[in-house]
């Protein structure tokens, strides 16, 4: 049963890793706008340089 003493800290380590990954994802802005990010693909017209896409303006 002594393996438990090793496995539990291991599990907690995994949880810490998961929390760290989530915090990183949130902080890097991945969840800021879940709706609009899908739209510029549809809006852009053929031949239009990508710099004129609306998404560029938002980030700038």
């Amino acid at each position: 049963m002594n393996i438990v003493f090793l496995l539990i800290p291991l599990g907690m380590g995994l949880m810490v890793a998961a929390v760290a990954a989530l915090f990183w994802a949130v902080n890097s802005g991945q969840y800021d706008d879940l709706e609009d990010a899908s739209r510029p693909v549809l809006d852009s017209e053929d031949g239009q340089p990508p710099s004129e896409l609306p998404i560029e303006r938002q980030q700038g």
Binding site: M1, F5, G11, L22, F23, V26, N27
Partner: protein, 709 residues
């Protein structure tokens, strides 16, 4: 801003300041409207007081608000994430202890698991649970307990008991309950806030539709980009395709195609000519254009609409204030009940005392009670704004739902006020189409409203030459060699040389009649009528299907009114009414116990509109800001009104459902929890679901009903 208590705290703090005349805080929209005297109290002072009360004052729009909102959104996600992961871990450890109960567990391992649970629950409590504690502290400082107080108390008690029991090495631990409370309550709150925010998106879409910069063309032809707030009257602006016109302006050159759907809810492209006015907020869907600003951004129709919407959303109708009062007593009652349940179980069965008290604290949901009405109102108001109907007073929707009679002022509502020509008769074998085509050909060069009315009817199939206009009489032209005249009977008769006897039947209404003739004689006669608005018939039918009586009250000639009433199938139509007589008519109806919805064009009918239960005005252009009616119809379509009444009725039904649910839930759940029949985790789920249910039910109102159209 979550609960009735929060809005009361802000209201109390701000209204205590000298120089503040009126404060109104809406909990569903998290907005405050303050009337203050800048001479006696500075805006900064008001904002300070709000932050002292524990709230972050934010301007309604702009970069600052957006970045704060984003930071809050991120923090909420992180809190939920930590609580969720922590919950899973603790649950695993605690489950081992529970599950091993029958077989016995090595005490060393059990203690190890408990310590591990403590290690995880602590950061969850401190980081994820922070909003509950800060909320509770704020409530206690203000001495007006909101829903955070019972929750924070439950968390603290459960955590403290678990820590003590862990180190004592005996007794139950509740680390799983603590993390679970936090996770469910945070998640419920997060979804609830998102839904509420989405309900408001109509206003936000309007406010945000303004571009961040505008291209201004200087006198020397150079282009500079400026903020819309810096636009001055007379500035020449360049509007690219697809951009929003930021201010009311005149088209400087060429032709423009604009879409005013942001303002009116109707997505129709409208063609504008040089020097025609363009409303701020319309979208340029055609080629790039240049416009001359006629005002600044804060005076545009768009700004008026946003202002009115915000005012409505910041006000709290009477029914909401009552619910808020009840909710705050409810929290006190909850605390008392939890203490009573705990005391009872300590004597009856000590092991169940803590879970029962925790369940009572967590299960009660005063928020369902105080959110029931404002959430539904906010959703309904936002949806109507998208349809093109502005609600200017928060109580108006409630009253609109109970209307029995719709009294319509004819001109400008049922009829367009633009002349429409109708064929009376033709002679000499001419067909209806031929008569209209000939008339349209003769009028093809004229700008007169009557000429436009003819051209609307038919496109000229033949070309008329040598067109001549005789002011006040008519037009003359040559078609296929023959001379034709269109105009007053006398004017045409001069050409036809017909004896007067032929026209004797027409001489009575010769003033409004129009004749068409050539040298052979009279060909056709037309009458001018005030045209029905497109959709008026359909709208009247819809209103009637909804069980509403419809009456027409007009200042026009009785015959004209009768004619319109006949076309619409309206039984009751009174003409020749002075404004006083209209007022009397509405007052008489109201005193007879029927609730009247008065629909007018919003000009000169203020008293009549005020006398009715609910009033609706057709608002156009900048008149929006001055209109005194409860409802403003921005798109001139009576069909929207029928849709609005339907929406108001659904809103009332939703409010009733919400209040009924809040009542049933709390009355049912609290006794069960006090009896110890509800596990603490069920309580957390139940309370989150309850407030979520209320908000989601309200969100149904914001959706356009696909089935009913």
């Amino acid at each position: 801003m979550r609960c009735a208590a929060c809005s009361r705290a802000v209201t109390r703090a701000v209204s205590a300041l000298a120089g503040v005349e009126r404060v109104s805080v809406n909990v569903a929209t998290a907005r405050a409207a303050v009337d203050w005297d800048p001479q006696r109290v500075a805006l900064k002072k008001i904002l300070n007081v709000v932050s002292e009360a524990g709230f972050k004052p934010l301007p309604l729009a702009g970069k600052a608000a957006a970045s704060v909102q984003r930071a809050e959104h991120r923090q909420a996600l992180k809190r939920i994430g930590l609580a969720g992961l922590g919950m899973m871990q603790t649950m695993m450890f605690v489950y081992c202890i529970y599950a091993s109960g029958a077989h016995g567990i090595d005490p060393g391992i059990a203690q190890y698991l408990k310590l591990a649970g403590l290690l995880i629950a602590t950061p969850v409590l401190v980081y994820s649970g922070a909003p509950f504690f800060s909320g509770a502290l704020r409530d206690l400082r203000r001495r007006s307990p909101g829903m955070d107080v019972p929750v924070a108390l439950a968390l603290l008690i459960a955590y403290a008991a678990s820590v003590v029991n862990t180190f004592r090495g005996a007794g139950e631990i509740y680390f799983d309950s603590v993390t679970m409370f936090i996770f469910f309550l945070l998640a419920g709150r997060f979804v609830e806030m998102s839904v509420r925010r989405r309900n408001l998106s109509a206003t936000e879409a309007l406010a945000r539709s303004l571009p961040t910069t505008v291209a201004r063309i200087a006198k020397d032809g150079a282009t500079e980009r400026i903020a819309p707030g810096l636009i001055r009257q007379g500035d020449l602006l360049s509007i690219p395709k697809g951009a929003v016109i930021p201010v009311d302006s005149l088209l400087a050159a060429g032709e423009a195609v604009v879409d005013e759907s942001l303002l009116t809810g109707e997505s129709v492209s409208i063609t504008k000519q040089v020097n025609e006015p363009l409303s701020g907020g319309s979208i340029n869907v055609g080629q790039p254009i240049r416009v001359v600003a006629t005002g600044c951004a804060s005076q545009s129709m768009l700004a008026s609409i946003v202002g009115l919407l915000e005012r409505t959303q910041a006000e709290r109708p009477a029914i909401v204030r009552t619910a808020d009062g009840v909710a705050s007593w409810f929290v006190l009652l909850t605390l008392t009940l939890a203490a009573a349940a705990g005391l009872f179980w300590i004597f009856a069965e000590p092991a169940r005392a803590l879970p029962a008290a925790l369940a009572v604290l967590v299960v009660t949901c005063p928020c369902a009670l105080s959110l029931a009405t404002p959430a539904a109102m906010a959703a309904a108001t936002a949806r109507l704004a998208r349809l093109g109907l502005l609600v200017t007073r928060p109580d108006a929707l409630e009253r609109l739902a109970r209307v029995d009679v719709v009294v319509v002022d004819k001109t400008g509502t049922l009829t367009s006020g633009m002349p429409v020509v109708e064929l009376k008769d033709t002679r000499r074998g001419y067909s209806r189409a031929a008569a209209f085509q000939t008339a349209a050909a003769l009028e093809s060069a004229s700008d007169h409203p009557i000429a436009q009315a003819f051209r609307k009817h038919a496109t000229p199939a033949r070309v008329a030459v040598d067109l001549q206009e005789f002011a006040g009489r008519g037009v003359e032209g040559r078609i296929d060699g023959a001379i034709w005249r269109l105009g007053t009977h006398r004017f045409v008769k001069e050409l036809t040389q017909e004896p007067g006897a032929d026209l004797s039947g027409l001489s009575n209404d010769a003033g409004a009649g129009i004749a068409l003739g050539n040298s052979e004689g009279m060909i056709a006669t037309f009458v001018l009528a005030d045209g029905l608005r497109p959709g008026a018939l359909r709208a009247v039918e819809q209103l009637r299907e909804m069980g509403l009586d419809i009456a027409i009250a007009s200042g026009d000639q009785q015959e004209v009114v009768d004619e319109i009433a006949r076309k619409l199938g309206v039984q009751e139509a009174v003409g020749r009414l002075t404004p006083q007589a209209k007022l009397a008519l509405v007052q008489q109806r109201e005193s007879a116990g029927t609730r009247v919805l008065m629909v007018g064009d919003g000009i000169n009918d203020g008293p009549v509109l005020a006398a009715a239960s609910v009033s609706c005005a057709m608002a156009q252009g900048s008149a929006v800001a001055q209109a005194a009616a409860d409802l403003l119809l921005l798109n001139d379509s009576l069909g929207t009104l029928a849709e609005a009444i339907r929406g108001a009725r659904r809103m009332r039904a939703v409010i009733r459902q919400n209040l009924a649910w809040a009542l049933v839930y709390n009355l049912g759940a609290v006794p069960l929890a006090a009896m110890g029949w509800i596990a603490p985790w069920v309580a957390a789920v139940g309370m989150s679901t309850s407030s979520l249910l209320v908000v989601l039910n309200a969100a149904r109102l914001a959706r356009s009903p696909g089935a009913s159209q």
